[in-house]
């Protein structure tokens, strides 16, 4: 999310994406496009990242915003699917699920990327990420209904980790 | 009169506290200077207010320019002025004493001390029940903090009890307050009184029940019988200047009781119940306090029981509810506050020079300044026992006279027996501390000028109150008269709009 257009820009507008997000959120909250609110929103969108900059680790840059959008869409759809699946599993009393732990070897290494991956895994079909190794080499996943461990790992790799990697160009 | 004068007793300590907390935290000399100056100014201010109040007029200050009963109103009558002045003098003694070194034992002493004063003054000035709650909390939290100043084991142990009990007290306060608001629909005490008489009977009963609960809460602060057990260990554990300031804390409870009794129960049917309660609990407190004093094996504990004994006397007298008794009570209140405060300070000085024995009543090494401390102790003890020619004797004379002995033989017997008990306890303490010493070297640091000044500031009350007994008595009689006629408050607050300091002016 780091803009990084020269020193000045990075000094005075360290994270344009964040600033944009904040402005949007502000306008969402105040539900108004009045000049006053716009101005205030701009000021906040500029000031808050400046104040909180020191709290941010160096961030990977978003290279492909469009891919990010697509990825988000995918994930949302998966979430709905996952929920239908899990709901059915919960509501049908006959079928007993076969839970299991899967150790997923990580390719991405940036904290933000790993976090996004872990969160995505948690939100999507029958999986909850449970632990990240201290050396970031793998991610332990609890699966509600485990059939094929390798297939699952491959699916996650293709569907989530690769796109994430592309988005941040690791 | 400057209309803002009324709020100054609250703002002055607040602003000085802010100054103290914001600047020069490390510079103790600066802190002391500011704190002393602020307290001196408070003494002057409250003296002025005392003088003002003596014209019998009740003054109000409408905060935020909102009229009563909607906004919060401060109220200055003789009683409030008296309590303010007493607090200021007591505080001056404590600050002087603390500035000799006690204040360096922990952080923020002076700032917290000023906030404590703010809480006390606010509680004395406010005419609004909820605002009273707020100021109670301020003064309580400040007192918790001060109690923990330079904290050690006994302080923490006693502090925990003190804090928990008071927190429960605060919860009960809110229930009582809610009940009173629910029944009367207002928070201003005078307005409450005004509405009460017009309410249907069931609301009156409910309000009365709420007020009874309020009395319990105040009795906790005032240290009435089943609720006082926390006091001795807490006061004995507190740092000397703080313990001395605490001498006024029980009086805040009593003050609140007097206010409620005068304003809310003045008209209602619950008065007899309240007075019965105060009367018997006061007497029982007195009896047990003297028993405690007789059994005390430490001067600080003894002093704490003297605080308790004075609380007992005050509560029982408050139960009498005659102007004479109220006036005598107020005279006694001023006397006992100053003297018990002085005793706590003295105990500290004595303890310092007695080596390991401290203030425990055992044979120990000779005091380094036995003569000086002995004389001071003598004066304090004479006043505390109620021997002539100091204020204690006059206070006792008056209290006894305010009661018809044949109607209430208990009071006379108990008060006289209590005097004897305190006499036995203090003469034993004095003879152990100053006479029964080991031969040999003395140790401990000498009394510092500031400490001496602090003690003298409080102790001077005893001869001065005796010397100027007549004007003082006149003032307290007028105060009691003002308390007995709460209608005047109503008249001044709601009857004549001009009486309201700033109400008539337009809102900005």
């Amino acid at each position: 999310m780091n803009g990084g257009h020269g020193r000045l820009a990075s000094r005075w507008l360290p994270t344009p994406t964040l600033s944009l997000l904040l402005l949007v959120v502000w306008l969402l909250m105040v539900r108004s496009l009045a000049p006053g609110q716009l101005l205030l929103g701009l000021a906040l969108a500029w000031l808050i990242p400046l104040i909180t900059r020191r709290f941010w680790d160096p961030l990977p840059r978003v290279k492909h915003p469009l891919k990010l959008l697509r990825f988000t869409g995918h994930v949302l759809w998966d979430i709905v699917k996952a929920n239908l699946h899990v709901s059915l599993l919960i509501l049908s009393p006959r079928r007993t699920p076969h839970p299991g732990f899967v150790e997923y070897p990580l390719e991405v290494q940036e904290p933000l990327t790993i976090t996004l991956l872990a969160n995505t895994i948690t939100l999507t079909p029958g999986t909850v990420s449970t632990n990240i190794r201290l050396d970031r080499s793998s991610l332990l996943i609890h699966v509600l209904d485990l059939d094929d461990e390798q297939a699952l790992i491959e699916e996650i790799r293709q569907r989530y980790e690769r796109p994430l990697k592309e988005i941040f160009e690791c | 009169m400057n209309p803002h004068l009324l709020i100054l007793p609250i703002l002055l300590p607040l602003v000085s506290a802010l100054g103290l907390l914001l600047t020069g935290q490390a510079n103790l000399a600066w802190q002391r200077r500011v704190s002393l100056l602020a307290t001196l100014a408070l003494v002057g201010l409250s003296a002025w207010l005392l003088w003002l109040s003596d014209d019998g007029q009740i003054r109000f200050y409408a905060l935020g320019d909102w009229p009563a009963p909607f906004g919060i109103v401060l109220m200055l009558d003789r009683l409030a002025a008296l309590m303010l002045a007493l607090t200021a003098v007591l505080a001056l003694g404590c600050v002087l004493f603390a500035s000799a070194g006690e204040d360096s034992q922990g952080s923020f002493f002076h700032g917290l001390f000023q906030l404590q004063l703010m809480g006390l003054n606010g509680a004395f000035l406010t005419g609004d029940l909820f605002n009273l709650f707020v100021f109670f909390e301020i003064l309580l939290l400040a007192s918790y903090a001060l109690l923990m100043h330079g904290s050690d084991k006994p302080r923490v142990a006693a502090g925990l009890h003190y804090v928990v009990l008071n927190l429960v007290g605060s919860a009960l306060f809110l229930v009582a307050l809610g009940t009173l608001y629910g029944a009367t629909g207002t928070l201003n005490m005078a307005d409450m009184a005004r509405r009460l008489v017009e309410l249907p009977e069931d609301r009156q009963v409910l309000a009365g029940a709420g007020a009874l609960l309020l009395i319990v809460v105040f009795s906790l602060k005032a240290a009435a019988l089943p609720l006082y057990f926390w006091l001795p260990s807490t006061y004995a554990a507190a740092p000397a200047p703080v313990a001395a300031l605490f001498a006024i804390m029980t009086k805040v409870g009593l003050y609140a009781i007097l206010r409620i009794e005068s304003l809310i129960f003045g008209a209602g049917p619950g008065a007899a119940l309240i007075q019965g309660w105060l009367w018997w609990m006061g007497l029982a407190t007195l009896a047990l306090a003297v028993i405690g004093a007789l059994g005390a094996r430490d001067l600080r504990v003894l002093a704490a029981y003297l605080v308790l004994a004075s609380a007992g006397v005050l509560l029982a007298s408050a139960g009498l509810d005659t102007p004479q008794a109220d006036a005598a009570l107020l005279y006694y209140l001023v006397h006992s506050t100053l003297i018990t405060g002085a005793l706590f300070l003295l105990a500290e000085l004595i303890g310092i020079q007695r080596g390991k024995a401290g203030t425990r009543l055992v044979r120990a090494r000779r005091l380094r300044q036995g003569t000086l401390l002995g004389w001071l102790f003598l004066v304090a003890a004479v006043a505390a026992i109620g021997l002539p020619p100091l204020s204690g004797a006059l206070a006792k004379l008056w209290l006894l006279q305010a009661v018809d002995a044949t109607a209430r033989p208990w009071f006379w017997s108990l008060l006289l027996l209590a005097t004897l008990g305190v006499l036995i306890a203090l003469s034993r303490a004095g003879s152990v501390l100053f006479w029964a010493s080991h031969k040999g070297d003395t140790s401990g640091s000498r009394v510092q000028p500031l400490q001496l000044a602090g003690v003298l500031c409080l102790l001077a009350g005893a001869p001065l109150l005796a010397l100027f007994a007549a004007p003082m008595a006149e003032f307290t009689l007028a105060t009691a008269d003002q308390l007995a006629t709460p209608q005047r408050v109503l008249g001044a607050l709601f009857g004549e709009p001009t009486a309201l300091a700033l109400q008539t002016e337009e809102s900005p």
Partner: protein, 141 residues
């Protein structure tokens, strides 16, 4: 007019679906046999359920009050940021605390997974039991 009817249908559907998702999420939490399985319901079902209800609310207010109401997105945003993290950390805690999982759980045994989990326990303090004998009679106060 038909738009409104349609929207009403959509809102109603979202509400009911949201309620159902939230319900199944909690039901899963109640039903499943071990902690890690119970975790699945709330992290997904409830989150999505609330999301649906929020969107329903958004639509409803936008329709009835005429102007644009999208604050609910903000809540959804917060939820979608925090819910998985909660799930993750809770699972981590569960692992750390040696919560048992039902027999038949497949895959890598987490005890051997990480330097972080699966350490030996400190000696477990005995749980005090209610004393058998009545304690010595005490005064009432």
């Amino acid at each position: 007019m038909t738009l409104y009817v349609l929207l009403e249908w959509v809102i109603s559907f979202l509400l009911v679906a949201g309620g159902l998702f939230a319900f199944t999420g909690s039901l899963g939490m109640l039903q499943f046999k071990d902690f890690f399985m119970r975790l699945h319901g709330p992290t997904k079902g409830t989150t999505l359920g609330i999301g649906c209800i929020l969107i329903a609310s958004m639509l409803y207010f936008t329709v009835t009050q005429g102007d644009f109401h999208v604050q609910e997105l903000l809540i959804t945003l917060f939820l979608f940021i925090t819910a998985p993290v909660t799930g993750h950390i809770l699972a981590k805690t569960g692992l750390h605390m040696h919560l048992r999982f039902i027999t038949g759980t497949r895959g890598a045994t987490p005890e051997f997974l990480d330097e972080d989990v699966g350490q030996h326990r400190v000696e477990r303090p005995p749980r005090p039991k209610r004393p058998k004998r009545r304690a010595r009679a005490r005064r009432w106060l």
